[in-house]
């Protein structure tokens, strides 16, 4: 049997598929989140050094992971869109960017909430915090560039190129910030030598990461459906879809 790899690469066929996938990922996200939150707040032991305040890492660390993963996935979609000239890939990149930016912001905010009781300061120019802040700037640049170009095809390609340039730069930025940090700061704060984590803590963190991951997929699919409708509003399949929606709504009322 011959498999058509590109069957779902057109918005017309992907739109219903995405609609079917969203509830699955949303439910998975909810289940993982409930399990993860239960483990992190009810089962995981209190840290003997940091007390209860350490529990914020169950949100903070997965958010930071996701912020980085989403940037890489976004750049991969962008590269695919640029190489194959596929509309849907560029739309996926565009749909992922806001979620990535939100997770970056969440990681920054939870980091500073954690920093206040631990380090005694809301903000410390720690290497990880700083590079997370720069990652937020990269996301904002991507979103700003895409939203200020009116022609969607050009916006897609320009954003894709920027995402690729960003991905090349991210490791350089990360290491430069790390070296800058070790030069300028004493060893009063050393996050690198984290104490060994209890297995339950790690499990809670992994479950939360999975929850965030599933949430990202669900939200990105919802957003990509909106983008598809907006961009393809003059095509036949969107018109048929809106007609059928109107007629079913008419029957109900």
């Amino acid at each position: 049997m011959k498999i058509n790899w590109f069957k779902y690469s057109s918005p017309q066929t992907f739109y219903p598929l995405a609609g079917k996938m969203i509830p699955w990922f949303a439910w998975l996200a909810a289940i993982f989140a409930v399990a993860g939150l239960y483990i992190s707040f009810a089962i995981a032991p209190t840290d003997f050094q940091q007390g209860e305040a350490y529990r914020i890492i169950f949100v903070h660390v997965p958010a930071a992971w996701m912020s980085m993963v989403i940037y890489i996935v976004m750049a991969a979609w962008a590269a695919l869109g640029l190489a194959l000239n596929a509309r849907l890939s560029a739309m996926m990149a565009q749909a992922l960017a806001p979620t990535g930016a939100i997770f970056t912001l969440l990681a920054l905010v939870t980091g500073s909430l954690w920093g206040k009781p631990m380090w005694g300061a809301w903000w410390v120019w720690d290497a990880r915090l700083t590079s997370e802040l720069i990652l937020l700037f990269l996301y904002l640049g991507f979103i700003a560039l895409q939203s200020s170009i009116d022609d969607p095809r050009r916006a897609d390609k320009a954003g894709a190129l920027l995402a690729l340039v960003g991905v090349v730069n991210v490791p350089i930025i990360y290491f430069s910030v790390k070296w800058w940090n070790t030069l300028h700061q004493g060893s009063s704060i050393n996050m690198g030598a984290a104490p060994k984590m209890a297995a339950t803590m790690l499990l809670g963190m992994l479950l939360m990461a999975l929850a965030f991951w599933m949430y990202t997929v669900a939200v990105a699919l919802m957003r990509v459906r909106c983008i598809m409708l907006e961009r393809e509003r003059s095509t036949d399949w969107v018109k048929e879809l809106s007609l059928s929606v109107q007629s079913t709504a008419g029957v109900k009322s």
């Binding site: 720069i134 700037f137 990269l138 904002l140 640049g141 700003a144 560039l145 200020s148 170009i149 050009r154 390609k157 320009a158 190129l161 920027l162 690729l164 340039v165 960003g166 090349v168 730069n169 350089i172 930025i173 430069s176 910030v177 070296w179 800058w180 030069l183």
Partner: protein, 222 residues
């Protein structure tokens, strides 16, 4: 191929020479920004010399950035950019010539002016030398990376502010190594590691940035 490269370089330099006020604006901007800090912070020499590396490097960064929007805008509006796009020579090479011209016009004057401002910030002689050296090694990277942002925002509304948002995060490594080199020599350490990394940044962007800029121009003009 070489010929086209030199022609573009000469043309851009000639254009810049005919519009000398554009060059002066960049230089004055650098001068004013770096003169504002002592007014805001106070005239103590110890404080000034400790913030000098960062302040002068940030001022150089901003001065290089404000002139970026002009890099392709004039060629875009009079149509000569399209001629470059369809020219038989590789576009990346022509872009490189334009970026080099931009650096000679906007980067080099800043490098030459920097020791004078460094004196105002009470920098010792060794640190002044390292400052010039670090700017000389680092500012080409600024022009090269900035060209990508300039090409992406070509003809976009609000491109001046947008270019800042796109390019400044990418400038961070250059800033860190550049200011770090000067600070290291102030503290009596060797600046060699920082200077090497700075040169590495410039070389890497010399290889990759013209290609990315050429691709960005094709996207923006098509």
């Amino acid at each position: 191929m070489n010929e086209a490269w030199i022609i573009v370089l000469k043309r851009d330099l000639l254009l810049a020479f005919r519009r000398r006020s554009d060059v002066a604006t960049t230089l004055f901007f650098f001068l004013i920004v770096s003169s504002l800090f002592p007014l805001g912070i106070g005239p103590e020499a110890a404080v000034l010399s400790s913030i000098a590396p960062g302040v002068l490097w940030v001022a150089a960064l901003l001065a290089g950035m404000i002139s970026l929007t002009r890099l392709f805008a004039a060629d875009f509006s009079d149509g000569s950019l399209e001629q470059m796009l369809i020219a038989p020579q590789p576009l990346a090479l022509l872009v490189l010539a334009k970026v080099l011209a931009h650096w000679i016009v906007c980067g080099l004057p800043v490098v030459l002016l920097a020791p004078l401002i460094g004196l105002q910030y009470a920098l010792p002689n060794d640190a002044l030398l390292v400052l010039v050296l670090s700017l000389l090694l680092g500012t080409p990277a600024l022009s090269l990376i900035g060209a990508i942002g300039a090409a992406l925002t070509l003809g976009v509304r609000g491109s001046g502010l947008l270019v800042a948002l796109l390019v400044l995060p990418l400038y961070i490594p250059v800033l860190i190594f550049g200011a770090g080199a000067v600070a290291a020599s102030q503290h009596g350490m060797s600046a060699q590691a920082h200077l090497s990394l700075l040169a590495a940044c410039s070389l890497l962007s010399l290889v990759l940035a013209p290609l990315a800029t050429a691709a960005a121009l094709r996207i923006s003009v098509e």
